[in-house]
């Protein structure tokens, strides 16, 4: 017996505690997934070797590492290409690429290895320096037999053979291909050049020692019949605006080849519009270093649109073209400084950008190396070469798993793990200046079509969407639910209470997918055809109930008392169709009068003045003001005036007053609307905007529908648990039911009502299916009732199935879930605490 007791206690305790632990697990797990998002990048020095034959005091022409980080190469100023093993620094291959004419400059190397060479006779050659990896079968190459698990790397025939983890043999070597020389019409030595390929067209720009620039378009066409390849070269001179400081030193050609950037060492940049190669024109000229120091390094980011510059004062900055409305440049584009990556320090001596993301590394004169994510400004890696020599060249490995720097005769290599460089608190929650945007913005756009697309993970549009959905649904649902609860608990006939409560509870169990489906497939198309009528409903239906009440007052006293149970509720029910029918009459009339016959065209801003829109907004405001004024100032006066009247007289007077107040409210609102219209304010673009079929109005209505039951049930519970003796005392003292409800019951139950609303709020925040189906899911930030939006929850539902596990996107979506979890947790805990307090108080009363 005692054993059974102990076992039961143990089981129950374990089961209970386990269940509660499971709850905690959710939170812990979400946090566990999210935390790496904000973690920094990792790096460790792999080795630092002396590669004597690669040594250079000035930055080499090209510097690279292969995909597997087995080989490094450097193209020296004398035209020799040195390849070495990164693990021990031994030179694998040395070849002289060019002897006569002498190599004078080289363009930056594209991710595929394409580059252009400039020579001292003014000629230019295109070419490619790349690594090629081949896989060989161990058995078919007997000379490679010495590769074993213990000694996985050997050198064979100018190639590096490595046994991979899968047991294959990988041979990596360097491959060089160089095209025939091309004359661009320059005769002096080429000092800088750049090349960009876009589809079949290659654009080359070159600068010679005399400061002349030539731009050439090279088109390669292959004859489909003969297979013959024809190369068409058209070269044009680019006129620079002359400067006293001498010729420029660097040239940059953007990705599509339509913009040429020319820089001088003193930091001046001239931007030339090269869309038409035959007629280049200067677009703008500005200073990259603010007149302090000199420009020491510059490089394009992936996509060749953002230029990263480094100067002698150690500043690393990002620049790209924007299209502000006030740009005075001939092409309407203005280059602006969008990213300040590093504060002042030792001079920047080398810059390298990643070939797969918007990561850039900067090397400094004191041998330090810093790596940044440009968009998020996150400093990922801060390290230095041993010895502190100035960095002459830098490269980020193609897979972003390594970093290699040359400092004099030393080559240092690091293993790096960038994890989630694009994510940081500010990148997720603050406006971010994405490439191509005029200003920092909140954008959510997680996937795109092209390779160099940058995911934009700004959370605000989603949070905004969530708040907007919540706001509009609470605006509709909360008052309805609270009022309905007050009526149910204070005025409804006892016998009707049960069935009506059951119906409303049934509403709570309706799957939200059904509501979403109805909203999107039935309500949204229907409302689109009847916008004016639907808007009119918000006015006619309350008016119909008020009208019904005033007519009801006209009943003789006996009938009034006798019918105050179920018949009165039936009469109320009859008012609804009256209101709806009235809307069908009033709506089109208003549409003709105030919206030029087509409210959707009016919303699009195509026609009409703003009076109608203001009227829609002002009628509720004036109505509320009127009710306030009437009860505060007119009420007491009315009471004393009507003292001498009998009931029918008072009822008739009230009826007349109701009619008069309707006219008064409308007239006041109309007058105010005209005034506001006259002043020039227009609600369009704010609360009203172009009509979208699946919009906040629909969501507000349907999600209101979804939260009504929960708010109603909780509010009704709160009202019902107000002790009966309070009610009875009030009624006994001569107060009417309404006075008792408003002055005794509602104030007592106020905290309960409040917590009901809070819990409804929590529901609205996390609701998924309705917003997923009934909004257009566009992550935009607009307060308009007639615009769509995207909420956190719908975003998760849409994107998580496609997100790659453990990617930044995946973790960002977990962060969205964590936000929702935290938000609802706080709301619910708060509501629960308030409710418990209320319970205690109600119990004490």
């Amino acid at each position: 017996m005692r054993l059974a007791e102990a076992v039961a206690r143990l089981c129950i305790s374990i089961g209970g505690a386990g269940t509660i632990a499971a709850v905690a697990l959710i939170f812990v797990f979400l946090v566990w997934v999210v935390v790496p998002l904000f973690g920094g990048a990792g790096h460790e020095l792999r080795n630092q070797k002396t590669v004597a034959s690669a040594a250079a005091s000035a930055p080499p022409f090209a510097f690279g590492v292969d995909e597997y980080r087995d080989l490094g190469f450097v193209l020296k100023h004398d035209g020799t290409l040195v390849t070495w093993r990164t693990d021990d620094g031994k030179v694998l291959d040395t070849r002289a690429l060019f002897t006569v004419p002498r190599l004078n400059s080289v363009s930056t190397r594209s991710p595929d290895g394409d580059l252009a060479f400039g020579f001292d006779d003014g000629s230019v050659r295109l070419g490619r320096i790349s690594f090629h990896a081949t896989y060989a079968d161990m058995t078919s190459r007997p000379e490679l037999a010495e590769v074993t698990a213990d000694r996985p790397v050997i050198v064979a025939g100018g190639q590096l053979a490595r046994r991979t983890q899968e047991g294959q043999l990988r041979l990596t070597g360097i491959a060089v291909s160089i095209d025939e020389p091309v004359q661009l019409g320059l005769t002096a030595p080429i000092t800088a050049l750049d090349v960009s390929s876009h589809r079949d067209t290659t654009k080359v720009v070159a600068l010679d020692a005399r400061g002349e620039i030539a731009a050439a378009r090279i088109e390669t066409r292959e004859n489909l019949m003969t297979g013959e390849v024809t190369v068409d070269i058209r070269s044009h001179s680019v006129p620079l605006r002359p400067r006293a400081t001498g010729p420029p030193t660097r040239l940059f050609l953007t990705g599509p080849g339509d913009v040429l950037l020319v820089t001088w060492d003193d930091g001046i940049l001239q931007r030339h519009d090269l869309r038409d190669v035959e007629a280049p024109r200067l677009a703008e000229e500005f200073d990259l270093v603010d007149g302090e120091g000199s420009l020491t390094a510059a490089a394009f980011l992936i996509g060749k649109t953002t230029l990263i510059t480094g100067d002698s004062r150690g500043r690393v900055r990002g620049w790209f073209g924007t299209k502000p409305a006030e740009a005075e440049t001939p092409d309407g584009i203005r280059f602006v400084r969008t990213h300040d990556l590093d504060a002042e320090g030792p001079a920047v001596t080398a810059l390298a950008s990643s070939s797969r993301s918007r990561v850039v590394s900067a090397g400094f004169a004191d041998g330090s190396v810093k790596t940044f994510h440009v968009t998020s400004h996150k400093l990922l890696i801060d390290t230095a070469v041993e010895g502190g020599e100035p960095i002459t060249a830098l490269v980020i490995a193609p897979k972003e798993d390594g970093l290699m720097a040359q400092a004099g005769a030393h080559v240092a290599a690091w293993n790096i793990t960038l994890e989630h460089p694009e994510a940081s608190l500010s990148a997720l929650f603050a406006p971010v200046w994405y490439e191509g945007y005029d200003q920092p913005r909140h954008v959510w756009q997680s996937t795109g079509g092209t390779d160099d697309f940058e995911p934009k993970l700004g959370f605000w549009p989603l949070i905004f969407g969530t708040l907007k959905a919540t706001f509009y649904s609470m605006l509709f649902g909360a008052p309805l639910a609270i009022l309905a609860a007050i009526f149910t608990s204070e005025f409804l006939h006892k016998r009707l209470k049960g069935p009506l409560k059951s119906i409303t509870e049934m509403m709570a169990s309706l799957p939200s997918v059904v509501l979403g489906f109805i909203a999107a497939i039935v309500i949204a198309p229907y409302v689109q055809g009847l916008v004016s009528t639907v808007l009119a409903l918000f006015f006619t239906v309350p008016c119909a109930f008020l009208l019904g009440a005033h007519l009801w007052q006209l009943l003789p006293q006996n009938a009034y008392v006798r019918l105050s149970g179920a018949p009165r509720f039936v009469a109320m029910g009859a008012c609804l169709p009256v209101g709806v029918l009235a809307a069908f009459a009033v709506g089109p009339f208003f549409e003709r009068t105030f919206f030029d016959g087509d409210i959707i065209a009016w919303l699009a801003g195509a026609q009409g003045d703003s009076v109608g829109g203001w009227l829609l907004l002002l009628i509720p405001v004036t109505a509320l003001l009127y009710v306030f004024a009437a009860s505060r100032f007119v009420g007491p006066w009315l009471r004393s005036m009507s003292a001498g009247w009998n009931r029918p007289q008072a009822a008739r007077f009230e009826f007349a007053r109701f009619g008069a107040s309707l006219v008064l409210v409308f007239a006041t609102a109309l007058g105010a609307a005209h005034v506001l219209d006259g002043v020039g304010f227009d609600p369009r673009g704010g609360v009203f905007d172009t009509y979208v079929q699946r919009n906040a109005l629909i969501v507000g209505f349907v999600m209101g529908f979804a939260i009504i039951p929960i708010v109603y049930t909780l509010a009704e519970d709160a009202l019902s648990s107000v002790p009966a003796h309070l009610r009875l005392a009030s009624l006994g003292a001569g107060a009417t039911l309404w006075q008792t409800a408003m002055r005794v019951v509602v104030p007592t139950a106020m905290s309960g009502l409040f917590s009901a609303v809070m819990i409804g709020l929590g529901r609205a925040v996390g609701e998924t299916m309705i917003v997923l189906m009934a909004t257009g899911n566009t992550p935009i930030m607009s307060w308009s009732v007639f615009d769509g939006f995207r909420t956190l929850s719908a975003n998760i539902a849409v994107e998580l199935p496609e997100a790659v596990r453990d990617s930044t996107h995946y973790r960002a979506l977990f962060l969205a879930a964590l936000c929702l979890f935290a938000l609802t947790f706080v709301l619910n805990t708060f509501a629960e605490l308030v409710r418990q307090r209320f319970r205690k108080r109600a119990y004490q009363l």
């Binding site: 609270i482 009022l483 009526f487 119906i503 009801w552 009230e654 189906m773």
Partner: protein
């Protein structure tokens, strides 16, 4: 003076009753009730009428074309300027007159089918563009295996490319006489394909996996591996021959079925040959009496409830979705209810009441308010990717890189929804436990019973109805929840059911790792992801009706149980 005071009371009492404000509160309740009733009526009407066979109307247009089909909706509208511009002067004048008189012109949406010929399932037909309409006697509605419905007149019955019956009546009666046997053969063929051939495929796959397992555990050159390979090769040869014979049987049935065809003519005069085997159901709509119509209606419902979907889910039934929903919900309940009850017992009976327990209680209540999608995210990240992936590497390494448990599946969906519904069970059970009068417990203790005896014999039996209510409500919530399922295993079309009948004991085999179809997800998918959402619309309504019916029945049961419980307490309070 007296008179004045009395009348004063009367007048002010009218104001004090604030009738208009009371009516506003009442109006709010009226609106809420009207919304729920309106929604229910809409769903019942649309869902209930979908399967009702309507008359087939043939409408001839003024431009000489004819369309035939069932009228699905009617509306009044004002044609836009570009429509008016396309009309002849005479028609335009007539249309303007009609608009002036009625405020719009009427147009009807015809479900005209014949998607393979016209590229559309529905056609709008303006009244002003119609020159005449009729209810042709021999208009036949054909529900096909693919391409949706077909509307046309039977012209001839063809056996092996030879016309054996000409004219609608003869062709129709010949078709009727063979259709049942053709369909029976088709069923047999389907059974062979899924049953016998499916089993052979499964055995082949099992053999391959056994080989892979041997490779993983002992390496390629080992004795075990060679043994496994020899065994596998032997098996494969035998399976191949079995496969061939099964396929031959299927081919024979197919060949026999392919002999019968029905030649149709559409309203436009185009001819169309439909193999008899492709015809699921066909009836001459305008000849049906009431009883026959009811028969068609019921047979459609039966198909809906018992068959798998066809035509990208827009036709056929939802049987897999029903099975998926039911099995997932049951597994969920089996997981959630015991733990929920244990947690409630712990909280209410064992834990020392104090601030810790009230924090836990708040946390549990809170969990009920956490958005369901968050549970989905947790389920995907934790159950599928962490737990499932570990299970895969431990137990199903031979199947990798194809995940077995490391992806969305029934078991993980059930776990996720179990967690989601746990608070519902806990709260309901706690309330039920709290409602057991203290006096009964004390009585039990006074008789010398221990705590566990008291709980088992006294408290639990009395709380059982409350626990049942909680369970039913949890099931209702779980059955209607879709958002988390989108992440943890619900799919638009599951090739295999999660339960399979077996010839050996225990006769039913559950596949907890499989993805499944779910009624709620089916609604979302049909309404929003479907290629042809217009054609799928009727199915969405019927699926919605079905889902709501299930949930309402569960809720009503819960309410009924609760009422019974209340009455029992009321009776047993003394």
């Amino acid at each position: 003076m007296v008179k004045r005071r009395r009348s004063q009371r009367r007048g002010t009492s009218l104001l004090s009753h604030a009738e208009p404000f009371v009516w506003l509160t009442g109006g709010a309740l009226v609106i809420a009730v009207a919304m729920i009733i309106g929604l229910m009526v809409l769903i019942v009407k649309e869902g209930g009428s979908t399967f009702w066979p309507q008359r087939v109307v043939r409408i001839d247009s003024t431009d000489g074309t004819s369309r035939m089909g069932e009228i699905s909706s009617t509306e009044m509208y004002v044609p836009g300027p570009h429509v008016m511009a396309g009309l002849s002067d005479d028609t335009a004048r007539r249309v303007r007159d009609v608009i002036a008189a009625d405020g719009g012109v009427r147009r009807r949406m015809l479900r005209s089918g014949n998607f393979d010929l016209t590229g559309t399932h529905y056609t709008w037909i303006d009244d002003f563009a119609a020159s005449g309409e009729s209810l042709p006697e021999w208009a036949v509605v054909v529900e096909r295996m693919s391409w949706g419905r077909f509307y046309g007149f039977p012209k001839a019955f063809v056996i092996e490319n030879e016309v054996v019956a000409r004219g609608p009546e003869a062709a129709w009666s010949r078709f009727k006489s063979v259709h049942a046997s053709v369909r029976a053969r088709f069923e047999e063929r389907q059974d062979l394909e899924t049953g016998a051939i499916g089993a052979i495929n499964a055995e082949m796959e099992a053999g391959r996996l056994a080989l892979r397992k041997a490779e993983l555990s002992s390496g390629t050159g080992s004795f075990e591996y060679e043994q496994a390979r020899a065994l596998n090769d032997e098996q494969q040869i035998e399976l191949k021959s079995r496969f061939e014979s099964a396929r031959d049987a299927v081919r024979t049935l197919d060949a026999e079925n392919a002999r019968y065809q029905l030649l149709f003519e559409t309203a436009d005069g185009a001819e169309m040959t439909i193999p008899a085997v492709d015809i699921v159901r066909a009836y001459a709509a305008n000849q049906l009496g009431f009883v026959e119509r009811v028969a068609v209606y019921l047979s459609r419902w039966w198909e809906f409830l018992s068959e798998a979907p066809r035509e990208a889910n827009s036709e056929g039934g939802v049987f897999p979705a029903i099975i998926g929903t039911v099995v997932m919900t049951l597994v969920m309940a089996i997981l959630a209810v015991p733990f929920g009850v244990l947690a409630a017992l712990y909280l209410r009976e064992y834990a020392t009441q104090g601030w810790l327990v009230s924090i836990v209680r708040i946390a549990v209540n809170n969990l009920a308010g956490v958005p369901s999608i968050v549970f989905g995210v947790f389920g995907l990240g934790f159950f599928c990717y962490v737990v499932g992936a570990s299970v895969d590497t431990l137990l199903y390494a031979e199947k990798l890189p194809n995940p077995t448990y490391g992806k969305g599946g029934l078991i993980w969906a059930a776990f996720t929804l179990g967690l989601l519904t746990l608070p519902v069970v806990i709260v309901a059970t706690e309330e039920a436990l709290a409602a057991v009068p203290r006096s009964m417990r004390e009585g039990s203790y006074a008789c010398g019973a221990t705590k566990w005896q008291t709980i088992r014999r006294i408290v639990l039996p009395r709380a059982l109805p409350g626990i049942m209510t909680g369970m039913i409500l949890a099931i209702a919530r779980g059955a209607g929840e879709v958002a988390p399922l989108m992440l943890v295993g619900a799919v638009k079309l599951a090739p295999e059911l999660v339960v399979e009948a077996n010839s050996t004991a225990p006769f039913v085999h559950l596949h907890p790792e499989r993805s499944f179809m779910h009624l709620g997800f089916h609604i979302y998918d049909l309404g929003f992801q479907s290629q042809n959402s217009e054609a799928a619309r009727p199915m969405v309504y019927t699926t919605t009706l079905l889902l709501i019916a299930i949930i309402v029945i569960l809720n009503i049961t819960a309410i009924w149980v609760r009422e019974r419980l209340k009455r029992r307490y009321a009776a047993g309070a003394f």
